[in-house]
Symmetry: C2
Subunit: 317 residues, 2 copies
DNA sequence: GTTGCGTATGATATCGATATCATGCACGGA
DNA sequence: TCCGTGCATGATATCGATATCATACGCAAC
């Protein structure tokens, strides 16, 4: 920048002002300097600016990147979420620093201007650990009292599935999933509340792993117990697929005897046989919203939790 | 740091040395200062250090985060790759700056010490654009002459599948996929080479989308044409699953009449009916290797492309 | 003429770390 | 006593940007 100033015959500070579009410099000068900077291939030194401004212009995103079964954030979705975050932050001159919980002690993370937590749903203790950093923080998941949370409206999701079952005349619905997980708990709550309004009490089958095998297993244990049921709300598509497979093997038709709805609407859901009904979340939008909220908080604007609408995709199950 | 120095009754520079484990300071002083720093909750100012050292201690990772069908990096895998990268970089005091191709013009990216490109396989033009930055750069994909590339050994993958088919006595194998994609092309090459050694020439069915529907469609067009075949190597698991489904519908049994092998060994592969044989890549290790190579290049050590072994998981198809 | 105001630009200090060169001191040998 | 050597520490300059306060100038009003 000093060089630029010398070439242009002005002072460093004028260059600085010109390049940051300050109205303090004459428009002609500004344009001339910007042009010159471009020609000479000048690159702003981010560290220097960050040092002076006492901001890192960085938001740390904490996400689990190891394969795991207990997560709601299955498959391509965390990546889409990251995409939304990245796009929004970049547009505002911030950058995305990616880490895991383990890596979160690194100096660079501690120096971030804000924090976004993904996929920590089942570990509130872990979330609380990050409070100590005293940074603006937004969490993806189910709303609680302690933090600013962005998530899709899991309760609405459960509600919609319940209504769907009612409409189909189902009277003995089952919920499969892990209600210890806050987001799943919300789905269950929405589901139960809507059913209760119709005088129906669903059965809960707890399953912690969100795999096909786990879904199959759930149906088997259900049949073994001889409990009557005519609808299954599985809180992941894989569970749903496993359930359908098991039901077919056990001689019960889907959707003839039993209706099944999954969650997440993964790409495979549409081409499953039969095509799986599922609840779809808008992950990209979720990412955008997460980013927008941290940015606001970084600028000392107060923010609140917010949920995004979900959509029940009715296919053939 | 100045405060720390004052409290401890030494100079700033001694503190600096002590905290970076420099052998120049007396061991006692060093330990005392480190202890003190810890007690006072001292946090290194990353920007200041970066400014002085003229390093950002940051590696930019460029990855496509929008859902798309044309990619090899399906589903949870990019995330696992990112995990490997993140872990290795963090362990060496570097941090991961995540962006898309679009966001790569941001100042922070240009200031990175190195670059890792993921999922750009089919866009060599895009890859070349990044050369201009003049940064140490490592690319995930298929080896070429122009860059340092890390990837799994797609050729070996193709080879292994061919050998597998030969062992099963198959004589008319088909390859399904998009050979314009460099990684897929490698798989095809390995496949063809190994078969040629046995006097067999496979058929190629080109399909660009890596979806179930696309796999189904490929089998239909194959049967329509009346071409004889007894083995299918699909370059993604979804293609393979679609193919198996179509074959069943068309009255051909798997693996009785036709053997099918997929690629990536996604979690679903094992619980598919029948359990799908597939080629597995070690993504985590790939990430580690990518990171290790950029770090080496940042430290001016020369690096070369490298491929990672893959493993054919033989199940029932 | 001078006072005041607005506009455009500049001088200097500063953010918090580290590299370089200098200094202080103890010790042993001549 | 003096000097060289090694070890521990310090003074100062520096990385590249921006905030703050100062300055220069033109022009209008009195």
């Amino acid at each position: 920048m000093a060089d630029l100033a010398k070439v242009a015959g002005v002072s460093k500070i004028t260059v600085s002002r010109a390049l940051s579009d300050s109205p303090l410099v004459n428009r002609e000068t500004r344009e001339r300097l910007q042009q010159l900077a471009h020609e000479l291939g000048y690159k702003l030194n981010v560290s220097a600016r960050n040092l002076r401004l006492r901001r890192s212009h960085t938001v740390a995103v904490i996400v689990e990147m190891k394969p795991s079964h207990d997560r709601t954030m299955f498959d391509p979705y965390p990546l889409v979420l990251l995409g939304g975050i990245s796009q929004e932050l970049t547009a505002h001159g911030y950058s995305v620093l990616l880490t895991t919980r383990q890596g979160a002690t690194a100096a660079a993370v501690q120096a971030a201007d804000g924090l976004i937590l993904l996929g920590q749903g089942s570990r509130q203790d872990a979330v609380r650990r990050f409070d100590k950093l005293g940074l603006p923080m937004v969490v993806w998941g189910a709303p609680g009292d302690e933090h600013v949370v962005v998530g899709s409206d899991n309760r609405q999701g459960g509600h919609a599935v319940a209504e769907h079952f009612i409409r189909l005349g189902r009277r003995n619905p089952v919920f499969v999933g892990n209600p210890n997980h806050p987001e799943i708990f919300e789905r269950l709550t929405g589901f139960v509340d809507a059913l209760t309004a119709h005088g129906i009490k669903p059965l809960l089958i707890r399953r912690d792993e969100f795999t096909l095998a786990s879904g199959t297993d759930a149906m088997h244990s259900l049949m073994d117990r001889g409990v009557p049921f005519d609808a299954v709300f599985a809180c992941s598509d894989l569970l749903a697929m496993g359930a359908i497979r098991a039901l077919n093997q056990l001689g019960r038709s889907v959707p003839g005897d039993v209706s099944v709805v999954g969650y997440d609407d993964m790409p495979l859901a549409a081409s499953f046989l039969p095509p799986l009904s599922s609840v779809r979340q808008d992950w990209q939008e979720g990412g955008t919203l997460l980013a927008r909220k941290v940015l606001a908080m970084i600028n000392d604007e107060p923010e609140q939790s917010e949920t995004l609408p979900v959509e029940l995709i009715v296919r053939e199950t």
